[in-house]
Structure formats: C-alpha cells, structure tokens
C-alpha cells in the first residue's frame, strides 16, 4: 500500500517532470543545451564508466522513503541530462520554489561548466541508453516482453547486455526512451521489487568493425544497392542492425569508413547515395580519396541528419554533384538566406537542391575577380632569351661551385671592381645569429648611417664579407631562375633555392633569394649589383631539398619563354640540316646527332648544352663518334 502510495506520488511527480521535460523536448536543441557538464567517461557504451560509477553511488540511497524517492526520481530526471549542476535545481524543487526556468535562483554548479550552459558534446547524444536497475538478476525475455507490451512507443532494443548488476540496452528514438522510462517503478518483478528504469542520451554503442561485422555490412549494403540505377540507399542504415548482436550505425566513423571502403572497392561507379536519417554530425569519411575514386557520384541525400555547420559540407568540395538534399540539418536553418549561395559555391554544377531546382545565379558585374584556384602555375625557370639563359646557367654553375667551396676568394673574378652587394635575413634571432649582424633590412634599422654602412662596396670588401658567411652546399634541384632583363649593357636575373650550412653543429638548411645585375666583361660578364636574402625554409621547401644534385633539372626545365618554340613542328629537311650542323659541332655521327636533337625537341641550343654536360660527365659512349 505504502508502495502504491509512493508509486502514484512518484508517478505524478514524474508526470510533472515529464511535462517539464516535454517543454524542452519540443525543441530538441534545448534538452541538449541543458546538458551542461563535461562527463568523466564521455563515451561509455556498454562498457560502463564514470557515469556508471556515479549512478551506483546514488543507488546506495535508501529508496524506500518518500523523500529519497523524490530525490531519486529527480536525479533520474537529471540523469537525462547527466548534469551535476542540475542537482542544485532538484534541491530547489524540493523546497517547492518551482524550478521551471528558475535559473536565477540556482546555486553555483558543483563543478565548473565549460563555456556556459551549452555543452557542444551534447549534440552528439542522439541515441538513448536504457538501464534496468539490477536487471541482471531477472529474466531478460520477461523484462523485455513487459517493456514492449506496456510501452506506449514501439522500440527495438539494441545491444542488450548485462553490466555488473544492471541491464543495459539502447534505443534509437527519444520518444521510445521516454516511454520506456515512464514504466519505471511500474513493473513488478518476480521477487516483489519493481523495476527501476533510467535513461540517458548518449552516443550509439561502439562496436569494433571486425571481419564478421564487415561481412554483415557488405551484405546489408548489397541488399540496399540498386544495380540498374547505381543507387545506394543508406537511409537509416543502423535500423537494419537493430535487435542484432552487432550494431553498425554510420554515426560511428569506423562503420562509416568501412562503408566507404566497401563502396570504393566494389561500387566505385555508384551515382547516387542516400545518407538520410543517420544522425550524422559530419560526412568526413567522404574524403579526398573517396572523391578521387568515386567520380560518377552525382546525387547525394543527407536529409534529417545533424550536420551543424556548413564547413562540414565545404569539405566535400570536389564532389561533382548535380542533386543534393540537406533538409533537416541544423546548418541549413542557421544559414538562412545564405544557404543557397553557400551550397552553390561548394557545388557549382548543382541543379537540384532539397528537391527544388537551383535558382539561376545572378551576380554583379564587378564580381569577376579570380579566385585563388586559378593562380598561374609556378614555372621554375623564365628567361627572356635562350642564349642569355645558357650563359646565365653556366655562370650560375661556376658561381655556386666556388661559393660552395672552402675558399670563396676566387669569387673576386665574378665581381666588378666597384660592385655593390647587400645581404638581409629574416628569421628568429637565434636561427639567424650568423647573419643578423650584417642584415641590411630597412624595416629593422633606424639609423640612416647604418643603412648606408651595411652596403658592401667594392669587390674586395664584398668577397671578404662573403667569406665570413657560413660555408654552404647549394641544392640546384631547388633552384628557380628568372632572367627578366637582357640588353647589350646589362642583364638582371633572380635565383632562389636552398642551401645547407656545411659546418657548425646544426647544419641548418636555408632558403635564399639572390638577385644579380651583371654587365659584359671580356667574353663573359661580372656582377655590379647583388642582393642576397636568407630565411628559414618552409616545411614544403625542406621536403624538396636533396644533398647531392646538379643543375640538370634546372637546365632541362622548360622555360616559359621557350615553350612556344618547342611546340613547333620541325620538318624533315630542317631536321637533316640541324643534324648535320650538330654533327660537325660535336663530332658525333649523324645518327647520334639526330637523336640528341630529337631528345631536345630539335632545340639546337639546348641540345648543345645537354651534349656538353653529358660529355663532361663522361656519359657519351665512344660509338657515338664513330662515323
């Protein structure tokens, strides 16, 4: 009797709280918002964890007294939100002060909440864990039958298992979870006690994707695949596994990734995929690899998921979709009127969005600025003229050979008597300690005198300055060359690349940018102006650095100025003439000469350079000269 009294009391309180809760449940967002606390063991699943422990602690309370029962019920409600701070709220209610929206009177939370009420983790809790207190001592079939019979909402118990003394299973929908929880204390067990049921919002059970589950997934996928239409229906994929031992929700990235793997391996020509109703927070497993291999995918349905931000959709850029459906995702409402344009910018070829044809894009005339996707491709070499290029390459080879040697004195010959040269560097004080003293950076120097003084004038001071700089080994494969000005009186070219400091404990690798202005002298030329800039390399730079290499790749790089000529067809007669001339020049027989020319797209100059290099390297066999 007492118990009945308690029951009805509890029931009515429960009811009130249900109503209270329902207010929140209308708008799923706020239930989650009320979940304030960071959990101890976040994703517990069947394994139990921190939350479990808390429960057991509370379980020790005497559940016979009305008061305690009230408290317990309230706590059960609170465990819907699993929020310690809510304990304050329950105290309030006991005092009858009315907890509805009583935020103002709420005592300080037991633990600090990260960033206020909203715990972003709560958005991930879209499954519901039902716990049957002390359930392991009862008959599973009996309990489940009772629940299924009495519950107002039909459900399928997922991943049922016994955890210590309790029994635990999951349900997919909140209505089912609540309906089951309503039955708490309603069902009398064989031993006379009534079954206590609690629920909490949680992540879906985590099931390892072993070979057995993989097979099940594959089977289910092939069942859902329409071969004629090349359409894969993954709508509410988890529902196909409900009630089975192994559960495979796409929400779990291990499952989703496995599904993607199966698609790539078995149906890479799929054209339509329906991912609706999977409670998905993102579609990250549709990664770059997927996009590269599944190129026929045109239709994607993502209805009724939980994608919260359009940035998750932006990760799909590259998927050439013509039809997309994202209705029922939080990000859509969040964007409001900007939704269509944002989607259009990610999927420019989209024709149908959310079952409606895409509206025509009308922009503004000034909105024709290029995007960074269309940046011109970097060329490693540019030369105003190919003859000059050959000379400059030769010069560079000699210059860097000397520069990299132990004695830089011979560089004197490279400089004009009255040449000027300056060096500047950029980097950390420690990293640049060998250079910073003489770094001529106007933005860092305040005294005009110093700015002037730091300009090295005259070839002797210049070379003695260069000798002071750390010994180096340059890597010509990293070199770029821009020979942008040639005239009868001077040439200007910029070389960039990397070098390694040969000595010292750290042997740092550096990036440099060197600009030379040279004037003719004798049969060659010499430097009149030079700027040298040194900085630390980016990680991308470092990856390309090699310790031993030659200028071959730079010489062979097609210069943008030469590209026009290389694409020209050279007719037979011209070929013969060139071959003859080349043969006379090099001493090679006609066959080899023709081959050498042909390998260089009949570019005589380049073939000459290549020949010289190969000859020096001893790469040309004797038979080439046999006439």
């Amino acid at each position: 009797m007492g118990r009945n009294f308690q029951k009805s009391n509890i029931y009515s309180i429960d009811r009130r709280y249900d109503q209270h809760d329902d207010r929140g449940s209308m708008d799923k967002g706020s239930i989650r918002n009320r979940l304030g606390q960071k959990r101890v063991g976040f994703d517990v699943g069947p394994r139990g964890g921190g939350i479990q422990k808390q429960r057991n602690h509370r379980d020790n309370r005497d559940n016979k007294t009305n008061l305690n029962n009230k408290y317990q019920v309230l706590q059960d409600d609170d465990t819907l939100f699993e929020d310690r701070s809510q304990a304050g709220r329950s105290r309030l209610i006991r005092g009858g002060r009315g907890g509805r929206g009583g935020r103002g009177g709420r005592p300080l939370p037991a633990r600090p909440m990260p960033g206020g009420h909203r715990n972003p983790l709560t958005k991930s809790f879209t499954w519901y864990k039902i716990k049957l207190r002390s359930g392991s001592k009862y008959d599973k079939t009996l309990m489940l039958r009772e629940l299924l019979n009495r519950s107002k909402v039909k459900f399928v118990p997922i991943c049922y298992q016994n955890l210590q003394t309790d029994s635990v299973f999951y349900v997919e929908e909140v209505d089912a979870a609540k309906a089951i929880r309503e039955l708490s204390n309603q069902i009398e067990m064989p031993d006379g006690f009534s079954l206590i049921i609690t629920m909490e919002a949680t992540t879906p059970p985590h099931v390892p994707v072993n070979s057995e589950l993989t097979e099940k997934i594959k089977t289910e996928m092939s069942r859902r695949y329409n071969v004629e239409k090349k359409a894969l229906n993954l709508n509410a994929f988890h529902k196909s596994f409900a009630g089975e031992e192994m559960y495979a929700p796409l929400w779990r990235s291990n499952v989703f990734c496995k599904v993607v793997e199966v698609i790539i391996e078995n149906i890479p020509d799929v054209q339509a995929i329906d991912l609706s109703n999977n409670k998905l927070l993102n579609v990250d497993p549709l990664n770059a690899d997927f996009r590269r291999k599944v190129t026929d995918l045109r239709i994607l349905y993502l209805k009724e998921n939980r994608v919260a931000n359009i940035s998750y959709m932006e990760k799909l850029k590259g998927l050439n979709l013509t039809e997309l459906n994202c209705s029922g995702n939080p990000f859509k409402d969040r964007l409001g009127s900007a939704y269509t344009d944002r989607i259009r910018s990610i999927f420019p070829n989209l024709q149908t969005l959310d079952d409606k044809p895409m509206p025509k894009k009308i922009g503004f005339d000034e909105d024709s600025s290029p995007t960074s996707n269309s940046l011109p491709v970097t060329q490693s070499k540019f030369a105003k003229s190919s003859e000059a290029e050959a000379l400059v390459l030769q010069f560079m080879e000699q210059y860097f050979k000397l520069y990299d040697s132990d004695n830089r004195q011979p560089l004197l010959d490279a400089y004009d008597e009255n040449a000027v040269m300056s060096m500047s560097c950029f980097g950390g004080r420690d990293s640049m300690k060998d250079y910073i003293e003489d770094s001529r950076n106007f933005l860092k120097i305040y005294h005009e005198n110093r700015k002037v003084r730091l300009l090295q004038t005259g070839r002797l001071p210049i070379v003695s300055f260069l000798t002071k700089l750390p010994k180096s080994t340059h890597d010509p494969t990293t070199f770029t060359l821009d020979l942008s000005f040639t005239s009868s009186t001077f040439m200007m070219f910029t070389v960039t690349g990397m070098f390694k400091e040969r000595e010292g404990s750290e042997k740092r690798v550096r990036h440099f940018n060197r600009c030379f202005l040279v004037v003719p002298r004798g049969s060659g030329f010499c430097i009149v102006n030079e700027t040298l800039f040194i900085t630390d390399p980016t990680s991308e730079n470092c990856r390309k650095f090699q310790t031993t290499s030659s200028m071959e790749s730079l010489k062979n790089a097609s210069s943008s100025a030469q590209q026009a000529t290389t694409s020209q067809e050279v007719d037979q007669a011209t070929q013969r003439t060139l071959a003859t001339a080349f043969s006379e020049l090099t001493g090679m027989n006609l066959t080899w000469s023709a081959q050498a020319l042909s390998e260089n797209q009949w570019n005589y100059d380049r073939a000459t350079t290549m020949f010289q290099q190969a000859k020096e390297a001893g790469k040309i066999p004797a038979e080439a000269f046999v006439k």
Partner: protein, 135 residues
C-alpha cells in the same frame, strides 16, 4: 675622392628612401587599389610571376587585374641599392629587394620575395622589372 664618397652616399640614401616610399605605395595599391597599379609600371616593363612571364604594360595590367586574386601582403624585409652607372648608362635606377608574406583570397599566407628594378621616368619612379617568387 670626397666628392665621390659624398656622391655615393647621396645615391645610396636616395635608393633607400625610394625603396621605402615605393614599397609602401606599391603594396597598398596591390592590395587595395589594384586598378591603379598599372601607373607604377613602365610601358615596356616585364613581370615574372613565379616564372610566368608577363611582358608590357597591357599584359601586366590584364594579369594583375584578371589573373591574380585579391591579395593581402605583409612586408618584413626591405633592402635596396643604387644600380651601377656602367649598367644603365646614367639612367638613374634602383634595385629593390622585398620579402614578406602574401595571402590570396582566403588561403593561408605564404612567404614571398620580390625584386624590382625601379627607374626614373620623367621624374617618376617606375618599375622596369618585377621578379616575384613565392617561397
């Protein structure tokens, strides 16, 4: 000899000042007023953008307005020198070296270095050569 030294210092100082004024103006225009930047180039100028050759003012204008996305430059290094007379035959010229970071559109910023040859054209400094390289 003193005269020569003075002359040299003067040239040097002028090169410094030119570079400072030029770099400030150039990058401001490049980032915010790109449609006016053509005024800073000689009609016969050459621009080498990461090895892509752009010859002549018309092409440069078209390149900067149509091919290059919206930019945002941050300069952290500036150096310059007066160019030897022997090279330019008395035509006052300055070699400028700039280094910094550039961001195109919303992309992450990348380090770059740029070399300019500035020359006196009717009492106005104009770019004759522009070598641009991202690192």
């Amino acid at each position: 000899m003193v005269d020569r030294e003075e002359e040299y210092t003067e040239k040097c100082t002028r090169a410094i000042r030119t570079a400072e004024q030029f770099s400030e103006l150039f990058y401001k225009k490049l980032d915010k007023e790109r449609h006016t930047i053509d005024k800073m180039y000689l009609p016969t100028a050459t621009l080498a953008w990461n090895g892509n050759a752009v010859d002549g003012l018309d092409n440069i204008k078209r390149f900067l307005l149509d091919r290059l996305p919206k930019s945002s430059h941050t300069i952290h290094n500036l150096d310059s020198q007066p160019v030897a007379d022997s090279a330019v035959g008395g035509q006052t010229t300055v070699l400028v070296q700039v280094s910094g970071n550039v961001r195109y559109d919303a992309n992450p910023s990348v380090p770059f270095q740029q070399n300019f040859l500035l020359t006196d054209s009717d009492s106005k400094w104009k770019v004759a050569v522009d070598n641009f390289r991202t690192q």
